[in-house]
Structures are given as C-alpha cells and as structure tokens.
Amino acid sequence: MRPGDLLGMSLGNYGRARLRSSLTTAGVAIGTALVVLLIALATGAEDNVRRSIFSIGDLRLVTVQPFQPGANGLSAVPRTISDDTVAKLRGVAHVDGVYRQFDAPLGMVVEGGDDATIRPQGIEPGAPVDRGDLLAGRHIEAGDHAVAVIPGNIARLVAPDVGAAVGKTVTMRVGGAVKLGSTRIGGSGTPRDYAVKIVGVFDEQASQTSFRIPLDDALLAGAENRGLTPQSVRETTGYSGLAVEADDSTNVADIVKAVQELGFSSFSLKQVVEQIDQGFGVFKGILAGIGGVALLVAAIGIANTMVMSVLERTREIGIMKAVGASPGDIRALFLAEAAYVGVFGGILGLALGLAGGQLIDRIIRQLNPRTNPAAIFVVGPELALGALALALGVALLAGFLPARRAMRMSALSALRYE
C-alpha cells in the first residue's frame, strides 16, 4: 500500500468516530500540555538561577578559604593561608593566577554628613573581584597606596555623582564600634582614620559596602588595629582568602582537589553550577514524571479507543484482507490512526502548553508587578519537538497491541463477524 493511501485512509477512519477521536485527542493534548508546562517551568527556573550565578562571577574561579576542607558553620577550624600556600598553589597545573586578599576590620566612611559602614578589602591589582564593573575612574593598580575603589552608592554619598567622586579624598575609619543606624553590628580594636583617595567607582550591584584598597594598605590597617606588624599578621593570621583562577573552567575540579590537599576549604561557582544542574535534572525528571502520568492516562485512552475501533471494524478488516490487504497493511492502518491521535494531540497540547504558560506568566505579573525573571516558562525547540515526539511515541505504543490484534485477525472469521 502507498504511504499516501495509508495516511488518507486512516485519516478517514480517525475522522469517522468524531466524538470519540476528539475526546481521545483531548486526553493526549492535556497530557502533553502538562509535560510542556512543567518542564518549561523547571527550565525557566533553571535559566534564572544560572543567569544569576553567571552574573555573580567567573566559572574559572576557585576561592580558597582559611578553614579546613569541608568546613561549614561552627565546625570550621581556622587554617592560616600564608605566602607559602600561595607559592604552592602557583605551582599547581592549570592555575593561571593566584590573587591574595586581606580583609581589614570593618569600618566606616565619615563624609558628607552620613556615616556609611564599609568593609575594607585589600586586593592585588587585576584581582578577579576588581574587574570590569567600573562606573567611573579606574581599578586598583600596581604601586597604588592610600587609594580606594568604592561602590556607587557610597560615591553618591560623598559627591553629587559618581564621576565627581573620583579624585576626592575621604576618611576611612577602620575598627572600633561599627553601627548600622543605632545598632552596633561589629568592629574591633581602636578606631584609626586613614585618608584615601577615590580612584574608581564600581557598580554597587557587586557590593554596597566593600572598599577595594591595595593589599598592603589593608594589611597595615589590620596590623595597626591589633598593635602588630603587617609581617606578623601575614604569618600568624594569614590572608582572608585567595582567588585562584584556572586556565579553563573544565579544570576547576583539579584545582579544588589541590586546594583540599593543601588543607584548605574552597568554593567554586563551577561546582555550585554542577550541583544545581544535577538538582534541576532531578527536578525536571520529577515534573516530567508527573506530566508523564497524565500522558499514561491518555495512552490508556488511546488504547481503549483503538480496541473499540478494531472491534467495530472487524468486518471491514475481513473485507480488506479478502481483497488483498496484507497483515502489514492492516497493522499500518491502525497504527497510523493512533499516530493521528498522537500528532494532533501533541500539536494541540504544545499550543495549549505555550498559551497556558503565557497566561500564567501574565497573571503572575499582574498580581506581582515586581516579578523579575525574564521568563517564568521557557519552551526551547528541544522541548517543543520532544513533546511532539513523546505524544507520537505514546500514541504508537498505545496503538501497538490493538493494531496487532487487527493484523492477526483471521479474514474468514472477521467476515463472519456481525
């Protein structure tokens, strides 16, 4: 039989029991729509999480923390990150750069009438944290002393706009009591004032409190706060952290391992992303499973419809066989009829899922205008095609047994069937 004839004839059969076919198709459509909606929701959520992670930082980065490996919360045992650690890490394969960081005690900047709490962060020139986020001025450079790169919100406190803040000298008070409003939130030692010149202003989305200052300035401030020398701070307290940059994000795992072998805990976005991917994989699987149950119910509906269809047309099957339909022709006719249910149901379900997603999206945004993700439901081409293929596959599977039954029917007994 020619494919065109086959499809034409089975389309006629599909259209003959109109109500039954449309109800079965609706079942497939609902199942498909549910699968599409749920997976689109999970994809949307994953996209949003990933987008915010990528906005946080570089996947090539491994942050070394001054604790034992696997440290968390109260169980953290401090470890000293010394220059020796830095030298060892520089020798690890795939390490592109190691940047030291020393956080001086909390402090405040006293300027323009308002006190703003700040975290002085001593960094090396070119440190990953100090890259590409400038609103005005420049980053920390080699040989800098008594300078700072500050967040935009504080720049606007000390000058009418961020541009005007560059070049201004402000007083950075390190240590002592640090208050947020009237609440004391921290601070240590006796406060000491340092005059720093603002050389750059960065976008406060990265941080609203951090003052990027040269590493040596931070070490000095930290030492003076505790009555020590920078050298002894380096040796006993050690650095607050290291930013280790891999040559490629695929090598991050090796570097993390090396850091752990040196006895330090580490953090990398790459590993977080991997965990998130895994988590979302499970999440999507569960949601697809829930949608799959709906499709399974639809499949039972298809099977039922096809069994009815075969039974109703027993005599017709007998006639067709008598005039030359081969077993394969008969099976193909019924499988094609089931496939129509799958294809029409799949297309309808996909449309329903897309429209439903848009509708829910609109309702959520109306209820909460500040909803910020770009898209709550994300339907990519893989999902669209996958949903269609799934609907078709489910329909063919459901149609298989009834079609086989039609195929194996004896022509003679089918002709005698009333």
């Binding site: 006639i319 066989k321 005039v323």
Partner: protein, 226 residues
Amino acid sequence: MKAPLAVEAIGLERTYASGHTRVAALDGVTLGIRRGEFVAVMGPSGSGKSTLLNIVAGLERPTGGTVRVDGEDLARLDEEALARHRSRRVGMVFQAFNLLPRFRVVDNVALPLAFSGVPASERLRRARAMLERLGMSARADHRSNELSGGELQRAAVARALIGDPAILLADEPTGNLDSANGAALLGLFEELHAHGQTVLLVTHDAQIAAHADRTVRMRDGRVVDA
C-alpha cells in the same frame, strides 16, 4: 486439447479441531480446473465446498495436500504473499456482498488496487472503466448502502475483476438475490466466461450449477462426481 490448469488440487485436506473431536471439512480433494472453464461446485451445506473455495482464494490454508492456483503453490506463500495472491490472482464474490458501506461504489471497486500499490487516479480510472463494462456507471458515485442487492453484487463482481484475476471465485453469489437479479448475475457470469474468464462458483442449487460448463459434486469433504 488441454488448456493449462487454473486450479489444481491434489489430496487437499482441511480438518478443524474442536475440543477432542476433529472434523474434516475437506478429506482428500483432488480436482483440476482448466483456464477458461466455468465450473460449479455443488453440494449440501457442510460438504466442504466453501472451504475449498476459501483455500483457493487464499483465505484459509489446507492442513494437507497441495493446491496450485495459476501455477503457484499456495503452501509456499507467506502471509504477505498470500495477500498479494488475493489481490491479484483471484477475485472473490461473496453471498453477503461485503462492500464497505461508507465508501462510494467506485472506491469499493478500486480498493483491491490500493493494496497492490496502484496510484489513486489510476485506480479510479480503472474502477470506472470496470463499472462501465458491467453497466454500473450510473451508480459509481453512490455510497454502497444506497444500492439494491442486484447492484451490490454487480459492484462486488466489478471489485473481484478489477485486478484482472486468473480466476473469479463466487460463493453462493445469488444467495441474497431475488430470482430476477440472480438470473441476471448468472447471465453476467456466462458473459464473462464467454470472454474467457475462468469462473469457479459454489452453490447448493442444481439450477444455478447448470449454468456452468461442468459441475463438481461434493459430499462430506470429498468429490463424489467430477
């Protein structure tokens, strides 16, 4: 002069097992039908005549013996090949007409060609030509459930002949027709035969069998008089 055989059955057996008893519908039938012959197989109900016809038609397989139709040993055909045998080598007319009621007459007539892969336009052209030949053109576009019994059987004959079969098989074709329509149908068979069509007709009625060149009588699964 001996024309080649259209049907050749040698020691043909067909037994049905029902529970512990075995019923022999055909019990060693040996029979030859030459090309161009019009043969009636006659016998009372249960004599095995329909079983013989169904085996020749490829609707049923024998449990023993050999049957060749137009030279082809049917035992050697698998299901797919047997389907091709039904669509090309034989044409079958049933007592119950067996047309598809929701199809037009012309579509019914063209149906066997669909299963042998003839394109739709060609199928319809040939089906209309066949209906024309049988004087049924006026009914070509009617649905088959709008036809009278005589017309239905004529359409069924058209369908049986559409694949230009080596042999036309008919199982009590006049069983559901009144005598006038029955006579007309037998007239049609005679006319087809006159044009060289081999016809094998099964009936229990001696008057109908009398239209054939030769009558084969069967009883209890055996040929009693060829």
